[in-house]
Amino acid sequence: AQRVTQPEKLLSVFKGAPVELKCNYSYSGSPELFWYVQYSRQRLQLLLRHISRESIKGFTADLNKGETSFHLKKPFAQEEDSAMYYCALSGHRGSTLGRLYFGRGTQLTVWP
């Protein structure tokens, strides 16, 4: 069965410190993996996806198929990074096609 696990419900760091938000998944096959972000009083929006291999707002995420992980990292956190972050996966076949499976989310707080 498909599952996304985000072990940390809350994460706090100081401005300028590195940050890593953990995400592990289970899926039989090769899923599409995403990080979505929700800033205060804004709608859920895509931050990045593994297939594009981009760095968005200084964030990167590497897919590790051996460890089935897709951790989100940023070397120097900024106060404006404070938000709720959701890891999600989507499948390419059958009942998983096009539907997003979300983790429970990690609330990141960056202190000044």
């Binding site: 096009g98 997003l100 979300f102």
Partner: protein, 114 residues
């Protein structure tokens, strides 16, 4: 484009009642998906519609139903409301149904069942 829009913003209903939530996708998007987000949890998939046909259904009871109209807007209906149906209901649109498509989310409808 205003993005995905949803109505109403907030709704309070009583147990046993019926509710209809509405969603308008981004212009040009033919796929609409519905998600339920209970407080403290990530969104959970309910339905996906593409070209007016149901393409996927999550693990929700038959009290939940949806449809998509010729203009690609969508309605989510919930019958016989239970207290546990209280949640934020999110609509997302995308150009197609493939897993690689980005889904664009609306602001959600906050449903409270008393």
């Amino acid at each position: 484009d205003a993005g995905v829009t949803q109505s109403p913003t907030h709704l309070i209903k009583t147990r046993g009642q019926h509710v209809t939530l509405r969603c308008s996708p981004i212009s040009g998007h033919k796929s609409v998906s519905w998600y339920q987000q209970v407080l403290g949890q990530g969104p959970q998939f309910i339905f996906q519609y593409y070209e007016k046909e149901e393409r996927g259904r999550g693990n929700f009871p038959d009290r939940f139903s949806a449809r998509q109209f010729p203009n690609y807007s969508s309605e989510l209906n919930v019958n016989a409301l239970l207290l546990g149906d209280s949640a934020l209901y999110l609509c997302a649109s995308s150009p197609g149904t493939g897993g690689y498509y980005e889904q664009y989310f609306g602001p959600g409808t906050r449903l409270t069942v008393t």
